[in-house]
């Protein structure tokens, strides 16, 4: 991560969003909205005093509510860039006009409450979209009690807990601060499930196994249960990892949990969470009392995937992820020339696959840059100046603003680089002056005739 910040060829724009794209392959114009951090990045030294002294706290999004952050914050200690932002909804200065502690205490004078949003414009030849995934929120699956039982957590929350720089300093603990001794990890929560996502999220088996291993390391006497449907350990070194865990004494139960309850039916179950599942290999319904349950939740498309897809003119597959041009032959390109996808925005995948796909996208881009030119569509519209009556209908109707009006000649003119050949102008032109090349009226009429034999 640090190498990104220091790289001379990378201009990093964090806390920023693409808002508009125009142009075409080889020549895109992109507008990027830079949200105000209220901290001048050129002055900030990253000393952290502001964060220490800020009196306003809220739940940390980055830690999925497990920890807290200040109103002026960096999401995590190793953040790049190491420049905090102010959350105006929590900040006392922004909500009531008082406080301003950070401004008073900042020696570098970097706090700037007056900072405004900026829009930058850049020109690029190609675009790689790597907007990632969301982790499914299991609140709707009330049978698992997420949100109702304190010690039912999601996989990504477990990651934060387990992370040495996370909210618990790497300690696995229950809500009351005590150490869990029996833990169940439930696979396929929201994956392989027609009620949520039909697809397999591909990473859950392995991260669930990893959790078992980390638990063993941190709580040596922990009793761990993995409730799975199928273990899909397909990657290089993955099956071996599974075998290792079997030796470490993890309990594997082949069955998906049906529900979690806190209603005890025996003294052993008092005060525990009871996971109810069928052990399908022995054909018994089984109640397993545990202290903590980890839900291995599905990876799903970002909540705003639809807007992003529209912004970049890319399609989405049935599962909602961005659609590659061809699943086997062109897995990084999209149907829009010059726009590529990589990582989990295209579908759930693990780190090795993500890195591979990102490298592939980079290679495609570098090859295009090397070639130096891009072929542009020849099948575009042309205007017969002699027939054009200058009504300007086409100018207003063109969705790509590729048509302008030549006031001198009193005729419409098409910018060949901008025209995408949609043919809307040709269909609309009242004087029949526009021809849509390769989709001429003659050709389409002939096709209709041929089709109706």
């Amino acid at each position: 991560m640090a190498s990104v910040r220091s790289h001379e060829n990378i201009e990093l724009m964090t806390y920023s969003e693409v808002v508009e794209i125009s142009g075409y392959v080889g020549n895109f114009k992109v507008k990027i909205r830079k949200k105000p951090r209220y901290v001048d990045a050129s002055k900030c030294t990253g000393c952290g005093t502001c964060q220490d002294k800020c009196p306003a706290r809220t739940a940390s999004e980055f830690d999925l509510g497990l920890g807290q952050r200040k109103a002026i914050y960096t999401p995590f200690p190793q953040a790049v860039p190491n420049v905090p932002v102010i959350d105006t909804e929590t900040c006392i200065h922004f909500t009531s006009g008082k406080c301003g502690a950070c401004q008073k205490l900042c020696e570098a004078k970097a706090i700037d409450f007056e900072q405004r949003e900026e829009v930058a414009e850049v020109e690029v030849g190609s675009i790689i979209v790597t907007t990632g995934f969301d982790s499914l929120d299991p609140s709707d699956m009330t049978q698992f009690g997420y949100g109702r039982y304190d010690n039912v957590i999601t996989g990504i929350q477990f990651e934060r807990m387990s992370n040495a720089s996370g909210p618990t300093g790497g300690r696995i603990m229950l809500k009351d601060g005590s150490i869990p001794h029996r833990i169940a990890i439930l696979h396929c929560i929201g994956s392989r499930d027609v009620n949520y996502h039909e697809y397999c999220s591909r990473v859950c088996c392995m991260y669930s196994l990893k959790f078992s291993h980390l638990l063993r390391e941190k709580i040596p006497d922990a009793e761990i249960y993995q409730l799975y449907i199928d273990l899909r350990c397909f990657g290089k070194g993955y099956e071996e990892f599974y075998n290792r865990l079997q030796e470490e004494g993890v309990n594997f139960v082949r069955g998906k949990a049906g529900e979690i309850t806190d209603i005890a039916e025996s003294p052993e179950e008092e005060g525990k969470l009871i996971v109810i599942a069928e052990d399908t290999l022995v054909r018994r319904k089984r109640r397993t009392p545990v202290d903590m349950v980890v839900l291995s939740t599905a990876l799903e498309p970002r909540a705003d995937a639809d807007e992003v897809a529209r912004l970049f003119s890319i399609s989405r597959s049935k599962d909602g992820f961005f659609l590659e041009k061809h699943p086997k032959l062109d897995p990084v390109a999209t149907t829009t020339d010059g726009i590529f996808v990589a990582g989990c925005c295209q579908g759930p995948k693990d780190i090795p696959d993500t890195v591979a796909q990102a490298s592939a996208a980079a290679a495609r881009v570098i090859a295009m840059i090397d070639k130096g030119v891009v072929a542009i569509e020849s099948a575009i519209s042309v205007i017969d100046e002699d027939l054009c009556c200058g009504c300007k209908t086409c100018v207003s109707i063109c969705p790509y603003t590729a048509i302008s009006f030549d006031e001198e000649k009193q005729v419409s003119v098409i910018n060949e680089a901008l025209c995408k050949g949609c043919g809307t102008c040709a269909a609309t032109c009242p004087s029949g002056a526009i021809t849509s090349r390769h989709f001429t009226t003659e050709q389409i009429v002939a096709q209709i005739e041929g089709a109706m034999v």
Partner: protein, 194 residues
């Protein structure tokens, strides 16, 4: 100029031939006006398939080509290159999509074959009117935009930047790292994720 049309019907293994009576379609194509030659082949997009078309263009002096196979969204560029390599304008091609929109969506063999015939007939009529179009080029801007700075974005940005090209890396959150930054050790090597 007299139109000499060649029609090439692909089996796509059993993908098309399993549902569409390919030979019947070829027979039908031969009966269409201006069609000089019509053939079928196992995989039209394969090297021998492409050779077949090239040879016919030379031998019969074909000047319009219809390929009845998969979606033009998939292989139109492939077959356009075939025409170009046989010195024919690549726009003298029309494809009939008898796989995605015919053999894969219809179960009844007779109905599928009838639809394939109609699609070939439409393509033949259409290609008759095709004009030569010239290829155009535009300059390629050497800068790249990468949207999202998780593992994928960081990896792609670094590789492009390492090759000496400029990259704009845009991230919505205050820090780069994405979901990856949340993770502890990652399998199977259990090394740190940052």
């Amino acid at each position: 100029m007299e139109r000499k049309i060649g029609v090439y019907v692909c089996h796509c293994g059993a993908n098309i031939a399993g549902t569409v009576d390919v030979e019947q379609v070829v027979e039908f194509a031969r009966s269409l006006p201006s069609v000089v030659v019509a053939r079928d082949y196992k995989f039209m997009c394969s090297d021998p398939g492409q050779e077949l078309i090239k040879n016919d263009i030379r031998e019969y002096g074909l000047n319009r080509i219809v390929v009845a196979s998969c979606s033009p969204r998939l292989h139109e560029p492939t077959f356009r290159r075939v025409l170009a390599s046989a010195d024919l304008n690549p726009y003298f091609l029309e494809m009939a999509n008898i796989r995605e929109q015919c053999s894969w969506v219809i179960e009844d063999r007779e109905a599928a074959t009838e639809k394939a015939k109609a699609m070939v007939s439409a393509a033949v009529r259409r290609v008759f009117h095709h004009d030569a179009l010239e290829k155009k080029e535009a300059p390629m801007n050497p800068c790249t935009l990468v949207v999202g700075a998780g593992i994928a974005g960081i990896q792609a940005a670094l590789e492009i930047a390492d090759s000496g090209k400029r990259v704009y890396l845009v991230e919505r959150e205050p820090s780069i790292g994405g979901n990856m930054a949340r993770l502890d050790k990652t399998f199977p090597t259990l090394d740190c994720s940052a």
